[in-house]
C-alpha cells in the first residue's frame, strides 16, 4: 500500500474515531506512549513552575491538548429573524422605540425601532465547541493517568469571520501525585505551576476551567442614530445598555458554571471584549470570560503569615 493511501486511511479512521466520541489516532498513540512511560515526559513548565509543582507534591506527566472546530449557526438582525412582532423566545431583548412616535421598521426608513438582543444560539454554539475541546483534553489527561492539568492556554479563533466556524483549542501540562486517589474528572487550571502551588498552599484546590460568554447584537434605532450624529457630548443609552448587558451575561454564565462544577469561586478571571460589524449599523458585542474554578479544602490559609520583604536590587 502506498504512503498516500496509508495516510488517507489513517485520516478516515481519525474522523470515525471523532464521530464515536474518541480521540484522533495520532493523539491516541501519543497518550499510549506517555502512559507506558516509553517516551520522556514533555512539559512547557518553566524551571520555577517545575520546582513549585514538586514542592506541592506533584510531578509532570506530559503535555495534553484538546481541540475542536465547529460550525456556529448565527442569524443576525432581530427583525429579519423574528419578523416585526419580535417574539425572541428565550434570551434578552430590549427595544428602543422611535422618540418621535413613529412606528416605521423598514430598512432605510428614517424612523425605526432599535433592538438589543442576546444571541442564545451563538452563545450555545461557542459553549458546545468549548465543551468538545475540554472533553478531549480531559480524556487525554485521564489517559496518561494525571490528576490535573495546569497552565492551560486557550486559543479561540473565528474562522471565515464571526458567526461561521470557530476553532477552540486548549493545551496544558498534565501533572499527577504518585499514589493519590483516582479522580473521576481531572482538575484544570489556566494558572501556571507557581500559582497552582500558591493556591494549594493557600487552602484552595483548582477544580475546572470555567467560561462565560455574553453575545449581544446592537441594532441602533433612529433615536440612537440621531444622537450619534449630534454635536453634543452625551451618553448613548442603547450602546451602554448593550455592552453592560453583554458583560453581565458573561459574568452570570461564568458564575453558573462555577456552581455546576460545585466550586466555591473562580480566580484569575480574564475578560476579552470584542465588537464585530454585522453590516448596516448593527454590531455584535461578544464578551468572553475565562477563569479557574477553585474549591476550598482547608480553612487555615497559611502555615505562617506572609513575610514583608524588601528587594535589594
Amino acid at each position: 500500500m502506498s504512503d498516500q493511501a496509508d495516510a488517507q486511511q489513517r485520516q478516515q479512521a481519525s474522523i470515525a474515531a471523532l464521530e464515536r466520541g474518541q480521540l484522533p489516532i495520532a493523539a491516541q498513540e501519543r497518550i499510549e506512549e506517555l502512559r507506558e512511560g516509553r517516551s520522556a515526559w514533555t512539559s512547557d513548565l518553566s524551571v520555577s513552575e517545575m520546582a513549585a509543582i514538586a514542592h506541592a507534591g506533584f510531578e509532570p506527566v506530559g503535555m495534553v491538548m484538546g481541540s475542536s472546530v465547529c460550525r456556529i449557526a448565527a442569524q443576525w438582525g432581530y427583525t429579519t429573524v423574528y419578523g416585526m412582532s419580535g417574539t425572541a423566545g428565550s434570551g434578552r431583548v430590549r427595544t428602543y422605540p422611535c422618540p418621535h412616535g413613529f412606528y416605521g421598521y423598514g430598512v432605510g426608513s428614517e424612523h425605526r425601532t432599535g433592538f438589543n438582543w442576546e444571541h442564545r444560539y451563538y452563545e450555545a454554539g461557542i459553549t458546545e465547541t468549548r465543551n468538545l475541546a475540554l472533553r478531549r483534553i480531559l480524556e487525554e489527561a485521564q489517559g496518561v493517568g494525571a490528576h490535573g492539568v495546569v497552565g492551560v492556554r486557550i486559543m479561540k479563533r473565528h474562522l471565515e469571520g464571526v458567526g461561521n466556524s470557530l476553532e477552540f483549542t486548549c493545551i496544558g501540562t498534565a501533572i499527577r501525585r504518585r499514589g493519590g486517589p483516582q479522580l473521576r474528572t481531572p482538575f484544570m487550571s489556566h494558572l501556571d505551576g507557581v500559582a497552582f502551588s500558591k493556591l494549594l498552599h493557600g487552602g484552595y484546590v483548582p477544580v475546572a476551567l470555567v467560561m462565560g460568554i455574553g453575545a449581544m447584537e446592537i441594532d441602533p434605532g433612529c433615536g440612537t442614530e440621531w444622537q450619534l450624529r449630534s454635536w453634543s457630548n452625551s451618553r448613548i443609552q442603547q450602546i451602554s445598555d448593550g455592552i453592560e448587558e453583554a458583560r453581565m451575561l458573561g459574568i452570570n454564565h461564568l458564575e453558573s458554571e462555577v456552581a455546576t462544577v460545585d466550586a466555591d469561586g473562580a480566580v484569575g478571571v480574564e475578560t476579552d471584549l470584542a465588537a464585530y460589524e454585522l453590516g448596516g449599523e448593527s454590531q455584535l458585542i461578544e464578551l468572553f470570560l475565562l477563569g479557574t474554578a477553585v474549591r476550598r479544602y482547608a480553612k487555615e490559609p497559611l502555615d505562617e503569615p506572609p513575610l514583608p520583604i524588601m528587594r535589594l536590587r
Binding site: 473521576r184 453634543s232 451618553r235 458564575e255 456552581a259
Partner: protein, 283 residues
C-alpha cells in the same frame, strides 16, 4: 518509589475526590484577582464576592476653541468626568448587589471606538470584596492591587474611596511670525509649558478636593495620565487618579520588612510610575 507524605496535596485531592474540605458558605464568586491577591486578602479577613463592572458609552462631540489661546475645554472635561463617574456608579451598584463592601484592583479604562462616530466606552471593573460578619455602609473603591491593600491595612490604614480629577486642555498654536522667528534657536515653548502646568494643576486640585470631601488623610498610588485620545496633539486630557486613605489605627503600624537579595536572573522592572503615553506631545 516511595512518595513523601504531603498533607496539603493529599487533603486537596481528597477534597476533589469528593469527601471533606472546608467549603465557602453562600454563592460562588468570580474574581479577576491573581492567586497572591486572593490569598493575601483572605489573610486580612476579606473574601471575594464577585467580578463587578459598570460601563458608559459616550458620544464625544466637538468643542470649538480659539486656535491661538490656551484654555480648558470645559464641555469635554465635564463629559470625560461624568462618563467615568457613571461607569463607577454602575459598578458600585453591581458591587452592592453581590454584597460587596469594597472593590479592589479597579481598572478604569477608556476605549475609543474608531469608525464612523466619535464613541468612547468608559469601563470600570474590579473585584468586590467583603469582610464576613462586619457591617458597613456604602462601598469603597480602590485601584490598588491585593498586595498593596494587604500592606496598607497591615500598616493601619483603611481605603476610603477613589479620588480623581480630569482636565481637558487646549494648547495654543503659535502665530506664523513667531514660528519663523524661532526656527533657528533652541527655545522654550512657553505656551506649551504653561499650558501643561495649568492643566496638570487643575486635574490634581480636583482630585485633592474629592479626597478632602470624604475626609481622607491622604492619597496613595496616585498617577497622572496624559492622553490626547482622538483630538490631535493640541488637545490633551490630564487625569489624576489615586486611592484616598484614612489612618484607622491609632498610629502607623511598623511592618519591619526583611531584606532579601533576589536570586532570580530576570530583571524586575523598577516600580516607576506609568509613563505618559507618547501621543500627547509634539507640535
Amino acid at each position: 518509589m516511595t512518595v513523601a507524605p504531603h498533607p496539603r496535596a493529599d487533603a486537596a485531592l481528597a477534597c476533589l475526590a469528593g469527601h471533606g474540605g472546608d467549603r465557602h458558605q453562600g454563592r460562588g464568586f468570580s474574581s479577576d484577582l491573581s492567586v497572591d491577591e486572593a490569598v493575601l486578602l483572605k489573610e486580612i479577613g476579606y473574601e471575594p464576592r464577585g467580578l463587578v463592572v459598570g460601563s458608559a458609552v459616550y458620544h464625544l462631540g466637538i468643542q470649538y476653541s480659539n486656535w491661538n489661546t490656551n484654555q480648558e475645554m470645559t464641555d469635554l472635561t465635564r463629559a470625560m468626568y461624568q462618563a467615568r463617574q457613571e461607569a463607577l456608579t454602575a459598578m458600585e451598584r453591581h458591587a452592592e448587589q453581590v454584597g460587596g463592601q469594597g472593590v479592589v484592583g479597579l481598572k478604569l479604562e477608556v476605549q475609543m471606538h474608531s469608525g464612523g462616530h466619535p464613541l468612547a466606552e468608559f469601563v470600570a471593573m474590579g473585584t468586590a470584596v467583603a469582610q464576613p460578619g462586619v457591617r458597613s455602609s456604602g462601598v469603597w473603591v480602590s485601584d490598588l492591587s491585593g498586595q498593596d491593600l494587604y500592606l496598607l491595612i497591615r500598616a493601619g490604614y483603611q481605603p476610603v474611596g477613589l479620588a480623581f480629577g480630569a482636565c481637558v486642555y487646549h494648547v495654543a498654536h503659535q502665530g506664523i511670525s513667531q514660528w519663523m522667528g524661532q526656527q533657528t534657536q533652541n527655545i522654550e515653548l512657553g505656551n506649551y509649558t504653561s499650558a501643561l502646568y495649568e492643566a496638570r494643576e487643575l486635574a490634581m486640585t480636583r482630585m485633592q478636593e474629592e479626597a478632602e470631601r470624604v475626609r481622607a488623610h491622604g492619597i496613595v498610588a496616585m498617577r497622572i495620565e496624559q492622553k490626547s485620545h482622538m483630538w490631535g496633539s493640541h488637545v490633551i486630557e490630564f487625569l489624576a487618579i489615586g486611592t484616598s486613605v484614612r489612618l484607622a489605627a491609632a498610629e502607623h503600624q511598623r511592618l519591619d520588612p526583611e531584606m532579601v537579595v533576589s536570586l532570580d536572573d530576570e530583571q524586575e522592572p523598577a516600580a516607576a510610575p506609568a509613563p505618559a503615553s507618547g501621543d500627547a506631545a509634539e507640535g
